[in-house]
Symmetry: C2
Subunit: 199 residues, 2 copies
């Protein structure tokens, strides 16, 4: 096979996988884990059942790959947004705003569906556990970098972890009802505390 | 009907409802929302299908009543535990320990299953929304009381809310993997911060 024909084929395969994964995320957000079927995914993605099953033999393969895929995309988006953060006093609040955007996005909602399903599905849990650890570590590392803090100082690491747990709690609250006004006030207050404690 | 025969009948009915609700919570924790069926509930509770359907015509009635039932029981347990809390320096940390016990208990796990299911089930959402608001308000009120703080002071309310969101985030993390050691360190650190900020 010539280089010219192989490359378009690889591109088509990559585009098809991306369509399947995007459709999976959309369905997780719209219908939840229980309401997401491989049949619905292939329909929405416009991909034949055979091609879908070739790439992702089972629903669990598809949902785990989908959450991994959007998490990576979101990680890149977070890193790019981070470049435009202001320095000085308003920076902490802006970092919190970025984290809050993350946990109120479809990425968090899809991941939440997966986490909760994985709790009672051993096979899914075996795949989601390591993925969740990886996501958690990456978000922690990025937050430390954005806040510009030194984790070797006593208590800094725990305060960053508390921040991420607080933000995840806000994400959970937002899935039940629109929580934007309350969230803004909490983040304002948390930014004050963080700046005092971390300076 | 005489008083003597009516009272035992009422007691039997109340006991049967309690068995149905306890079985529902157990199944939500063990098998998740999707894996909980009314058939399984009546089997586990040792209650006939007819009697079960009389009290709770549909699965959604059962799961909402179950989460309401255990939340009330848990609220009572929290209030009783609160009576033995120490005064002074260690009190804040003990209040956080109580809240952490709450969000790592089956009550939180069952509620989480319900919240996530309600996100994509309009009928369930209509019942869970008000229940969740009620639970949130009660836990907030109890936390303010236990910490002995004055919400009229600026920033106090937001700090209590942030604490509860952080604790809910810890509860979510604990459903994925055993998170006890990390949680203790975060709560130690947050108790220090809270005492400084609230004093």
């Amino acid at each position: 096979m010539s280089q010219a024909t192989r490359v378009p084929q690889e591109q088509r395969t990559r585009a098809m996988r991306a369509r399947l994964l995007d459709a999976t995320v959309e369905l997780l957000v719209e219908r939840g884990f229980a309401g997401t079927s491989t049949t619905l995914v292939s329909q929405r993605a416009g991909v034949s059942r055979g091609a879908q099953l070739h790439h992702f033999p089972a629903k669990n393969d598809l949902v785990v790959a989908a959450v991994e895929h959007i998490t990576e995309a979101r990680g890149q988006a977070l890193k790019e947004a981070a470049r435009t953060l202001p320095d000085g006093g308003r920076r902490t609040r802006q970092v919190l705003a970025m984290l809050a955007d993350h946990v109120t996005s479809p990425v968090f909602t899809a991941a939440l569906e997966l986490w909760v399903a994985a709790r009672t599905d051993e096979q899914l849990g075996a795949a989601v556990g390591p993925l969740e650890q990886h996501i958690g570590r990456e978000l922690h590392r990025l937050t430390v970098e954005l806040l510009g803090v030194d984790e070797r100082k006593p208590g800094v690491r725990e305060l960053v972890q508390a921040t991420l747990d607080m933000v995840r709690g806000l994400g959970l609250a937002d899935t039940i009802s629109d929580d934007a006004a309350r969230r803004e006030r909490i983040l304002d207050r948390w930014a004050e505390v963080l700046e005092r404690e971390l300076s």
